[in-house]
């Protein structure tokens, strides 16, 4: 996945354009398909006794749950848009995002990354014996790593074309 264009003009149709091969498109779609991965267990308003702010804790959990439902719907609509991944050359797909969509995509991918990490038992990631992972744990670790890869590409693109190349 490579940044090919950065548009500064606010009137432009898209802020960033990437070229992706088919494998990268499939990976990204697979990650977005499993969004969201985080749930209410991921959200704590405070580390201290929450008895006096029980209502606020519930509000946080409800707000995050609603937020994810809204973004799931928005994501389905986004992916259904024709030409979202436009074939430009053999095995070269163009994927364009506005700056706002870039921010949004970063959040979606981070939800998948953090949610998979929580499901794996919140391990320290360095030194995890990946070869021993099987089944769902292997899928969670793969999604965690892949979402990090796409996040890095998007974050580099925010820095500018020179950083992203």
């Amino acid at each position: 996945m490579k940044l090919i264009r950065t548009l500064k003009s606010a009137s432009s149709s898209g802020g960033f354009a990437f070229l992706m091969n088919k494998q990268e498109v499939d990976w990204l779609l697979a990650l977005l398909k499993i969004y969201p991965q985080m749930d209410s267990s991921c959200h704590k308003l405070t580390t201290t006794s929450a008895a006096e702010i029980k209502a606020e804790q519930e509000t946080l959990e409800e707000s995050m749950a609603q937020y994810r439902r809204d973004h799931r719907r928005k994501l389905d609509k986004f992916l259904a848009s024709p030409g979202r991944f436009r074939l430009e050359a053999p095995d070269q797909y163009r994927f364009a995002l506005t700056p706002e969509q870039m921010e949004w995509m970063l959040q979606l991918l981070n939800d998948v990354r953090v949610g998979c990490w929580v499901k794996l038992g919140r391990p320290e990631l360095e030194g995890v014996p990946k070869r021993h992972l099987t089944g769902q744990a292997a899928r969670d670790m793969t999604a965690l790593e892949l979402s990090g890869y796409f996040q890095m590409v998007l974050l580099e693109a925010f820095k500018g074309p020179a950083a992203a190349s």
Partner: protein, 102 residues
């Protein structure tokens, strides 16, 4: 925080009837971001810039504090504002909480 490495506006905090007494709310609260091994360092910096509008140098300073010291005190605010920031930061997937400033 992982070394290998926002919509959409973050969700609005829904206003629910508050249960905490006023004297509790009027105390200062701090918003703290805690270290974890999963959020990418560049991502954390980016989130601090987006949520607080900080310049990159300040965002990076707090990110490094999280990474090296295990946590960083981001802002001191009223109960409501601190709660709002925690909602925003958690919408981005960061491990952030609000604590009484004692």
């Amino acid at each position: 925080m992982s070394e290998t490495a926002a919509s959409s506006a973050p969700p609005k905090t829904e206003q629910k009837e508050k249960t905490a007494p006023k004297e509790v709310r009027d105390r200062g609260y701090v918003v703290i971001c805690w270290n974890d091994p999963v959020n990418l360092m560049d991502y954390v910096t980016h989130v601090f810039q987006s949520v607080f509008g900080w310049p990159k140098a300040r965002a990076e300073r707090h990110m490094m504090q999280v990474h090296q010291a295990g946590k960083s005190l981001l802002v001191r605010e009223t109960f409501e504002k601190a709660e709002h920031y925690v909602h925003q930061l958690q919408a981005y997937g960061l491990n952030a909480t609000m604590e009484r400033d004692e």
